[in-house]
């Protein structure tokens, strides 16, 4: 579904990866693991096309209207907008500017509310996003991307601000999404227990050995 071929990543003079190749199939949940500053965000942004790669290419095999959707670490939410509208803004591409000028279709609203219920935000539908806690805002950003239904979902530390309970619920939803929608999820994570519990495979990022971190291995639990 998505292939990285001989990817080369660099920040300034520092090489993060010199020859990274991987292939992810439909329904797979991939964990991107490595210490802080090791290049996980750069890899995800490179795959999403936000930043140019120093070499190699990313090939996607999708037929959906939205091939890639990303949950950014800094969330990128409209602070002065309500929780519900922020989630609904994930479905904008499915409708014309004229259709969404005065609001959203009821069907989309139902889907958005259902996602917010699963993520524990149903009581804050009409609250300004700026007034939510960091953890709530993180769940909101996840709901927005899930509503968008991309074929490839990239998540940059999506549970960094969540407690264990919500982290497990959220990762469970991402895993379920990958399987139900035949999508693939690439998710950077720090907690190795979570990696073992949810990931099908791991990309291990090692900044000390940029030529060697092109490994795609099964999780310890599933090896």
């Amino acid at each position: 579904m998505i292939e990285g071929k001989n990817l080369r990543l660099r920040i300034g003079d520092r090489w993060l990866a010199q020859d990274l190749s991987f292939s992810v199939s439909k329904g797979e949940f991939i964990a991107l693991v490595g210490s802080s500053g090791s290049g996980k965000t750069t890899l995800l942004r490179g795959v999403a096309g936000d930043i140019p790669l120093a070499g190699g290419q990313v090939i996607t095999h999708t037929t959906t209207p939205l091939p890639i959707g990303m949950i950014h670490q800094d969330l990128q939410l409209a602070e002065g907008s309500s929780t519900l509208k922020n989630v609904l803004s994930g479905c904008l591409y499915r409708h014309s500017s004229f259709q969404t000028l005065l609001g959203f279709p009821e069907e989309e609203k139902s889907k958005a509310i259902s996602l917010l219920q699963k993520l524990g935000l149903e009581r804050k539908l009409h609250q300004w996003t700026s007034t939510l806690s960091r953890g709530e805002r993180q769940r909101l950003a996840i709901a927005r991307t899930l509503l968008a239904q991309p074929s490839i979902l990239l998540a940059d530390e999506p549970v960094a601000s969540l407690d264990r309970k919500w982290a497990e619920i959220t990762l469970g939803m991402l895993k379920e999404y990958a399987m139900a929608q035949d999508a693939c999820v690439i998710c950077s994570l720090h907690d190795l227990d979570q990696v073992a519990q949810f990931a099908d495979k791991i990309i291990q990022v090692d900044p000390e050995k940029p030529e060697k971190w092109n490994v795609l291995i099964n999780t310890p639990q599933k090896a």
Partner: protein, 268 residues
């Protein structure tokens, strides 16, 4: 002060605030002749006491017509702020460096500079010449005057806005308009509304004075009472009513703007 600084000549120790402060003092000193007035002995203090003595007690018999004048003033301020907000929104797109090409930014900003250079009283005189002595002249004058300021404030809000949400929506496939409507506008809306409220407060004050040159509102009453002898007690009543309404608007406007600011910053 470090020993190195002590060994420096005095002029080398000056920084920008120091230099500008000295220039300010020089300007104030060179402006002392402005305090001389006409040079005649007019018994300023005696004049002042006589003048203020006639202020009290205020003449409450004109309360009804004063309230009518004040209401007209508020109406002039309200409609001109509304019109200026709409004009400014369009002009601010042209003046924002993050949105428009450089040539358009240059032209729009030049236009706004020209509008701002002309004080509200002068706009009022021009409008009275154009449409005669009535409240429409006040609306035209304050609409132009406010547009110069609001468009500048709005364009600065556009330039300093966080574009991440807008870009995130574009990366999720939305159109440019949708990304603006749902990504950028929600962050700008409270700031822009806050500027509009401030302008409304400002315009109520301005609308009070432009009547002096015939542009409608309470200013006309002020002029009549100031020019006719023995009417200072009427003049004082108008001033008291203006003070109450301006203070009320200042107080509520500040409350609302503070609340908007805090909500956007996530403090409430």
């Amino acid at each position: 002060m470090t020993p190195e600084m002590k060994s420096m000549p005095w002029y080398n120790r000056l920084d920008l605030p120091g230099v500008t402060f000295i220039l300010f003092l020089l300007l104030a000193a060179s402006s002392l002749p402005a305090l001389e007035g006409s040079g005649r002995n007019l018994d300023y203090w005696g004049n002042f006491l006589r003048f203020t003595d006639q202020f009290f007690p205020p003449d409450w018999s004109i309360l009804g017509q004063t309230m009518e004048g004040l209401w007209e003033t508020v109406q002039i301020a309200g409609i001109s702020t509304f019109l200026a907000s709409i004009f400014s929104l369009f002009l601010s797109f042209g003046a924002a460096r993050t949105i428009s090409p450089r040539w358009l930014v240059f032209i729009t900003r030049m236009l706004l500079n020209i509008i701002r250079t002309i004080p509200s009283l002068l706009w009022a005189i021009l409008a009275v010449v154009l449409v005669g002595s009535n409240s429409l002249a006040g609306v035209i004058a304050l609409s132009f005057y406010s547009t110069g300021y609001l468009a500048k404030f709005f364009s600065e809000a556009f330039e300093s806005a966080d574009l991440k949400a807008q870009k995130a929506l574009q990366s999720l496939g939305s159109s440019r308009w949708q990304a603006f409507q749902y990504g950028l506008w929600p962050n700008l809306r409270p700031v822009i509304w806050s500027h509009c409220l401030w302008m409304l407060e400002y315009n109520v004050r301005s609308a009070s004075i432009i009547g002096y040159v015939g542009a409608g509102g309470i200013g006309l009453h002020l002029k009549l009472y100031a020019e006719s002898a023995e009417s200072w007690n009427k003049f004082s009543l108008v001033l008291i009513c203006m003070l109450i309404i301006v203070t009320f608007l200042d107080f509520t406007g500040e409350k609302v703007r503070k609340s908007i600011r805090e909500k956007l910053e996530g403090k409430i």
